[in-house]
């Protein structure tokens, strides 16, 4: 009998706690103070030192423009709708969705929330309240490929991608075309590890590439990129970074980073939203918009090579060089 009472007591405690919790959350209800609320929904982790990290940088830049921001990371497609609804309920007016995987869902949800402006990153669709911008990953790959082909002594260069998502695959296509553009005879080895997280796999693959004669490694695999940089450092070859600060793990190997600073794209999109000047078509965000660019060189590189790369960057920006993605 005593046991029953103890259980009853336990359950009462729970109920009291539960009521307390509900009461606690009611006190913090939203109030609209005229500040635009901007949300970012990411499929990966903001700590990936790459794609999502720069997206988050972009969000922070938007915050500096006076917006109130919110973000969710590691959001699978199946949760994206719920995330959108959560933000909508909380009075958010702009929602950035940082992966092409979200496309179908976002279109579906956007219909239900006409008052919210959606920005889809790397999508090919638009609607009344949906704008897409396409990060020109291929241009980044193109610059990497061209530089690698110019730098190589062995005539073999390597591209290591992570999960086979669109940016990575397009980067590979650009890489190949860029390399061939400067040196049609260059040998290209290009593989994906199937994971953005498995850093060690990327590193070992990088080392295996060196075994095949590769002397310039280029990663495009979010945080797994770091493994590739480390491989280059350990094997004493060159590497071209694909994101911010990747050179820190490869102080003697990293030549330069071909930066794809998506934060610029985010900020630009937000400014266009504020200005109300958004064309319906998909906005490319690449060299022309200053999103893709060659960063500062960390190592000594021939001026001639630097010049050639600058030239290619300009041609990409002007549309003189077109990358074939078929």
């Amino acid at each position: 009998m005593r046991k029953t009472w103890t259980k009853l007591l336990a359950i009462t405690v729970v109920l009291v706690l539960a009521i307390g919790v509900v009461a606690a959350c009611d006190s913090g209800e939203k109030k609209d103070d005229g500040v635009t609320k901007v949300a970012l929904i990411m499929e990966g982790a903001v700590s990936d030192m790459s794609w999502n990290a720069t997206a988050f940088e972009g969000l922070k830049k938007i915050e500096k423009n006076g917006a109130q921001i919110g973000h969710t990371e590691n959001t699978p497609v199946s949760d994206a709708a719920a995330a959108i609804r959560t933000y909508a309920d909380d009075g958010y007016k702009v929602i950035f969705m940082s992966s092409s995987s979200y496309q179908d869902l976002a279109m579906q949800e956007a219909e239900k929330y006409p008052e919210i402006q959606f920005f889809l990153i790397n999508s090919g669709v638009t609607a009344e309240n949906v704008r897409s911008f396409a990060i020109q990953d291929a241009e980044q790959g193109y610059l990497m490929g061209a530089l690698a082909a110019l730098l190589t002594k062995t005539g073999t260069i390597g591209y290591i991608g992570g999960l086979e998502i669109a940016p990575i695959l397009n980067g590979a296509k650009g890489f190949e075309q860029g390399a061939k553009y400067v040196n049609p005879d260059v040998k290209i080895i290009s593989q994906n590890t199937g994971s953005m997280d498995d850093v060690n796999a990327a590193k070992e693959l990088g080392k295996a590439f060196v075994g095949q004669g590769v002397d310039v490694l280029c990663p495009m695999a979010n945080q797994a990129s770091l493994g590739v940089m480390e491989a280059a450092e350990e094997m004493g070859i060159m590497a071209i970074g694909s994101g911010l600060n990747q050179e820190t793990v490869a102080p003697t190997a990293a030549v330069v980073a071909i930066v794809k600073d998506t934060s610029i794209a985010y900020e630009a999109a937000y400014k266009a939203y504020q200005a109300g000047s958004m064309p319906m078509e998909v906005l490319p965000m690449g060299a022309a918009q200053g999103v893709v660019f060659v960063g500062d060189y960390y190592l000594e590189v021939d001026q001639a090579i630097k010049d050639q790369i600058d030239d290619i960057q300009k041609k990409l920006a002007s549309g003189e060089i077109k990358i074939n993605l078929d």
Binding site: V14, C25, G28, P76, V77, S78, A82, A83, N170, G194
Partner: protein
């Protein structure tokens, strides 16, 4: 249940709910310590947001239910295997396999009316998952390979297969060539069945699955035999039952249920197969759901909704607290598993068996068997008793 007073019923209810509730309280308490140490937020405020986001409004409950559907499928998958004495850690892989095969039927067998196309797609999902279950069972029966490790390895293989299909054979032939299958046509899609809500017909399918799970295990001879073999394989063999058959059948069904879940997730929520379709661990969370529900049909439904709510609510928690990461929800789910499996720690007084004769030797054996044969001494599902006596 006839002849029970209200007090007895209350006691019975308390007995059933005591361990799950204690486990949830303990998990929330430990979780609050994690929140205190890793953020500046008040844990109770964070939990409040989580609760609000999971159950607070009609719309959040809608999200919770949608979220609960795949979890209930994988929980059923784990449960039916466990009832047969098999530990199926492969629901994730089976789920993925089901999604792949359902997508294949969805995008290739076009031109059929929905009345044919939709069932075929679901069937394909079931078969895809059950194939993976069958591989595990066959290796176990034929070579004695431990299903624990085989299922985990198959999870990785299934994920790679999905990646292969969406970047290769199933790739949508449209620039800019996203690694995804073409969209599944309307004839093979599942929609909402309550206007204005997102929760889709998959809910009815999974509830049907729960009912069949109950009906199969407690009302059919085949299910009865599966339970006998699961609790005591030696006795099963003695009574003329085949352990190998039970292993194969249960893993086949387990794989099928998980595969059906994968199919439903694709055709109702995601709309097409994507490389990132399975970034979430439906399989392992399903284990937690099954355990919290004590492998009991109704228990699976309720714990599925609870876990769906934690998942859905964690989004709101992350958004509104701004510094409590949604991974705290994962921590809480993990803690619930630990505290449910270790529920004996909440036992106030060591419960002893009522034994009619003083035979300590036998009693000793009995206690050992209780934990060996049936490591979860399962109370009979309440609905069974109600059904039988009716």
């Amino acid at each position: 249940m006839e002849g029970m007073t209200i007090k007895q019923r209350l006691q019975a209810l308390l007995r059933t709910l005591y361990f799950p509730i204690m486990a949830i309280i303990a998990s929330l308490l430990v979780g609050s310590i994690v929140i205190l140490f890793t953020s500046k937020s008040n844990p109770f405020v964070a939990y409040g947001h989580m609760f609000q986001g999971g159950f607070g409004t009609k719309r959040s409950f809608d999200a919770t239910l949608t979220k609960a559907i795949p979890l209930m499928f994988t929980a059923l998958s784990f449960s039916i295997a466990k009832r047969s004495g098999i530990i199926n850690l492969g629901a994730q892989g089976q789920f993925t396999a089901g999604a792949i095969s359902a997508t294949a039927v969805g995008i290739y067998l076009t031109g059929l009316p929905a009345a044919i196309h939709l069932p075929l797609t679901l069937l394909a999902g079931f078969i895809g998952g059950s194939l993976f279950g069958f591989i595990t069972a066959a290796l176990k029966v034929k070579f004695g390979a431990s299903e624990l490790i085989v299922t985990i390895m198959l999870n990785y293989i299934a994920a790679l297969l999905a990646a292969y299909f969406v970047t290769g054979p199933m790739l949508e032939q449209l620039p800019p060539y996203y690694p995804q299958s073409p969209a599944i046509p309307k004839t093979a899609r599942l929609g909402s069945f309550i206007p204005g809500l997102n929760v889709h017909t998959g809910l009815l399918i999974v509830l049907g699955g729960v009912f069949l799970y109950y009906f199969y295990l407690w009302k059919t001879t085949s299910g009865f035999r599966m339970r006998v073999v699961g609790l005591n394989p030696t006795a099963g063999e003695y009574a003329g039952m085949s352990v190998a058959r039970s292993t194969i059948l249960s893993l086949f069904l387990a794989g099928g249920l998980a595969g059906l879940g994968g199919a439903v997730e694709i055709i109702a929520v995601q709309g097409r197969l994507m490389i990132t379709s399975f970034s979430e661990s439906f399989g392992f969370t399903g284990i937690a759901v099954a355990l919290l529900g004590n492998l009991n049909p109704l228990g699976i439904v309720f714990s599925g909704i609870l876990f769906g709510g934690i998942s859905a609510g964690s989004l709101r928690m992350e958004v509104l607290t701004r510094d409590v990461n949604a991974s705290v929800a994962e921590v809480i789910q993990a803690l619930i598993i630990l505290f449910i499996a270790g529920r004996m720690m909440f036992q106030i007084k060591r419960r002893r068996k009522m034994t009619t004769a003083a035979d300590p030797d036998v009693q000793d054996d009995v206690l050992a068997e209780d934990t060996e044969g049936a490591d979860t001494p399962l109370p009979e599902p309440a609905i069974e008793k109600a059904g039988d006596q009716a």
